[in-house]
Amino acid sequence: MRRWLLWLPLAVFALAMAFAVRELRKPTDRTVYSAMVGKPLPTFDLPPIVAGKPGLSTADVQGQPRLLNIFASWCVPCIAEAPQLMKLKAMGIPIDAIAIRDTGPAIRQFLARNGDPYTRIGDDRDSQVQLALGSSGVPETFVIDARGVIVKQHVGDIRDDDVADLAAAWRAAR
């Protein structure tokens, strides 16, 4: 047998181990990202959930880049991200929302307590639109460009450090 052949098993094994080490060192990201990023918004037409605020349809979202916030009154991280959303609104960024599995009175209370950054709120009672968007939980925030294409997905609550990123993404989408 050729001598170098004897080293082949060791070489194969070393390669496998190198690969495993690389995998081990990689920071893990368990987030489930939407496959819809880079694609146009799915077609939907959601009724309003609170009086005085219009519902949300695909057509409403086109024309101007904006943020689409997926939230619920029963969601604690949504309370945590409310001040950041108010900051984004103060920067002149239009924000629409989809309320997931919620009721009118609960939303009214939530907005009264945590502030109301939203232009429109759609009522997604059985998560149909949320699933169509590829969103796996609340809160999530999508950046939509003027043509209605999803350009970015932010999973989880918006922290202070995320505000600049989202604003930049919105500006880039113009």
């Binding site: 047998m1 001598r3 004897l6 080293w7 098993p9 060791l10 094994f13 070393a14 181990m17 690969f19 495993a20 080490v21 690389r22 995998e23 081990l24 990689k26 920071p27 893990t28 368990r30």
Partner: protein, 652 residues
């Protein structure tokens, strides 16, 4: 107290393993017999201490000592005692402890029993075994301590996964682990023999009973696990090709190849390098299997991050042992003198073919198991499912069946094709008849199961053929072992092919009093009633089952609710007939008074596990046969020596 005692035993065992390693290393490098003799008792005591630690863990589980973190996480005081007992290894830390316990006990047994191999090689073997044990003791003590206490003990535990609350847990992991870890002895022997450059028939004969024993345990463990998954998971499948199953199949494939090549080395002094390589591969596969999979690293890449410390530890250990052995192989095997050579058409030739085919199947399973991780690293999420494994490994397995039929009918060293075909006449006739009968009786159906059934018939005839023309009483037991094991493969193959080809499945929603037909059975839903168990409650369907005009039998599948932790499981109800099983599962109510019911008629499915037991039984017969022959030969040698001494005394 008992938890601390267990921890102390574990530390002492680790210290003894370190001592055993140093003694062996010094003894081998200085060629010192006194030091070598000291290594044996150390190995025995080390095994005993590991056993003590395992016993301590079982004791705290039986006592439901809720100050031990592991008990809290995996047990509950209301659990039946059997699951408290078996729950000791139904978790990561406990199963690792079981693993090193079996490793220590196996090492102790080698030290106690092995007398055939050269002393220096045995010492090197014990040193290797100690090195493996030391690494895994360190893993347990530094990153997976099963005896860790909680500062504020809760009043009760979180319970054991209900899927594991089955008698299967009591024997499946220990048998499987005995198989995995038994292969460590083969690995240590191979490394020991490489260190002392002593690869030959004596080494193979010393290794053979360990390989066979490990293989028998693996076979039983896999067979039992397959049946457990079959009735417990409620999907009616007997093999799912999931990573954990593949992790047990890979060492089995390697061990099967190994035990055949060990035979060639022991009887004909051939295949030296190949046998050593397989011994290394077989145990490497066990380690990969137990550690990468059981610690969650393989099933999901995410588990790397769950505990990167453990992952790193395991990787370092695997690199040291497998990498070390492979490096030793590369540097030393060239020095090992080539063994005897043989012709292509010969018993050896067929065993080489068997080894190559098994290795190819092993490679396919390995690639199929690891490819999703590789792909995930490249950024694609995918899973490799049964279609890949069946399409890729199935045809090769069938070729292997043909080789397996021919192999035992070949002579050692040299034979002719003509003679082989003559000896294979009856198996070929049986295959042909079975194929024709199948087409006539069932029509043309799926190619692979059809071939499988026909070849199973041929293999069954071929496997008993070596007994033809022999004096059955004087045939050695290990020949019977081979016959029974090969017959077991034929039986199992027939079961797999028949159940794949002819299974009938029905999913219905039925109100009480309505009935459905599946295969030869008519099933009537008689009622649904609640049932209370030890730590669960259930809805139980009463199904009247009737075959033709036969008597009515009652089947009662359940949908069980466990409260700790809250989970629902399906307890299937199975009716075993001589020619197959009726498998019933109770599903959800549909809200209008009807219940989802799922029935399968699985013809001859029981043959799969019966065949598995035959295979294991064949292995056991072979161990016994070799042991008896060794004993007889030893006795004869002693008698001959005495007779010689006697003659000399008279001559003098």
């Amino acid at each position: 107290m008992i938890a601390e005692a267990g921890l102390v035993a574990l530390w002492l065992a680790a210290a003894l393993a370190a001592m055993q390693l140093m003694l062996a290393a010094l003894a081998v490098s200085r060629n010192d017999d006194t030091l070598a003799r000291a290594a044996r008792p150390v190995a025995v005591v080390q095994g005993g201490l590991a056993l003590l630690a395992m016993a301590a863990l079982i004791r705290v589980f039986l006592q439901s000592d809720m100050s031990v973190a592991l008990v809290v996480a995996n047990s509950h005081s209301a659990k039946p005692w059997l699951y408290k007992f078996a729950g000791a290894w139904g978790n990561h830390e406990g199963s690792m402890l079981l693993w090193v316990t079996i490793l220590g006990v196996a090492g102790g047994a080698v030290a106690l029993l092995e007398r055939r191999v050269a002393e220096r090689t045995l010492t090197a073997t014990l040193g290797t075994q100690a090195a493996i044990a030391l690494g895994f003791y360190a893993f347990l003590l530094f990153s997976s301590n099963p005896f860790a206490r909680l500062p504020n003990p809760p009043s009760d535990g979180q319970g054991l996964n209900p899927l594991l609350q089955d008698p299967g847990l009591a024997f499946h992991p220990p048998t499987l682990y005995a198989g995995y870890v038994g292969l460590s002895v083969a690995f240590s022997f191979a490394v020991g023999a490489l260190i002392t450059r002593d690869v030959g028939p004596a080494f193979a004969r010393a290794m053979r009973p360990w390989v066979l024993t490990a293989w028998v345990f693996l076979t039983i463990g896999i067979t039992a696990g397959s049946y457990w998954a079959y009735y417990e998971l409620g999907w009616g499948g007997w093999w799912f090709w999931d990573p954990v199953e593949n992790a047990s199949l890979m060492p089995w494939l390697a061990a099967t190849a190994l035990l055949h090549s060990v035979s060639v080395l022991a009887t004909r002094d051939g295949l030296r390098a190949w046998t050593v390589m397989l011994a290394v591969v077989a145990f490497s596969m066990s380690m990969l299997g137990t550690f990468l999979v059981r610690s969650g690293i393989l099933t999901s890449v995410h588990a790397f991050a769950v505990d990167p410390e453990r992952g790193t530890f395991i990787l370092i250990l695997l690199s040291l042992y497998i990498g070390g052995a492979l490096a030793l192989f590369a540097t030393r095997i060239g020095v090992v003198r080539a063994g005897n050579t043989f012709e292509l058409v010969s018993r050896e030739g067929s065993l080489v073919a068997n080894n190559l085919l098994l290795s190819v199947i092993l490679g396919i399973v390995l690639i199929g198991t690891f490819y999703p991780i590789l792909a995930a690293a490249m950024g694609t999420q995918l899973s490799v499912g049964p279609p890949f494994f069946e399409k890729a490994a199935g045809p090769i397995a069938l070729v292997l069946v043909v080789v397996m039929a021919a192999g035992p009918l070949l002579r050692w060293r040299r034979d002719t094709l003509g003679a082989l075909v003559r000896r294979l006449t009856w198996p070929i006739v049986a295959t042909g008849i079975a194929a024709v009968a199948l087409v006539v009786a069932a029509g043309w159906f799926n190619m692979l199961p059809m071939l499988g059934l026909a070849l199973a018939a041929g293999l069954a005839v071929a496997s008993v053929a070596p007994l033809a023309g022999r004096n059955l009483l004087r045939t050695p037991l290990f020949v019977y072992g081979m016959v029974v094991a090969h017959l077991g493969i034929a039986v199992s193959l027939a079961g797999m092919a028949a159940s794949t080809a002819f299974t009938r499945e029905v999913l219905v929603a039925k109100a009480i009093g309505e009935s459905a037909t599946v295969g030869p059975y008519r099933v009537t839903l008689r009622g649904i009633r609640p049932v209370i168990g030890d730590n669960w409650s259930a809805l139980e369907a009463r199904l009247d089952v009737q075959r033709g005009d036969g008597s009515t039998r009652l089947l009662a599948p359940q949908s069980r609710f466990f409260s700790n932790p809250p989970t629902t499981t399906s307890e299937s109800a199975i009716l075993t007939a001589f020619d197959g099983q009726l498998y019933t599962v109770l599903g959800q109510p549909d809200g209008t008074g009807r219940w989802q019911l799922r029935f399968w008629w699985k013809p001859w499915v029981t043959l799969i596990w019966f065949g598995g037991l035959l295979i294991a039984g064949g292995g056991a017969l072979s161990i016994l046969g070799h042991w008896l022959r060794d004993r007889r030969q030893k006795k004869r040698a002693i008698e001959a020596a005495e007779a010689a001494a006697h003659r000399e005394a008279w001559a003098a």
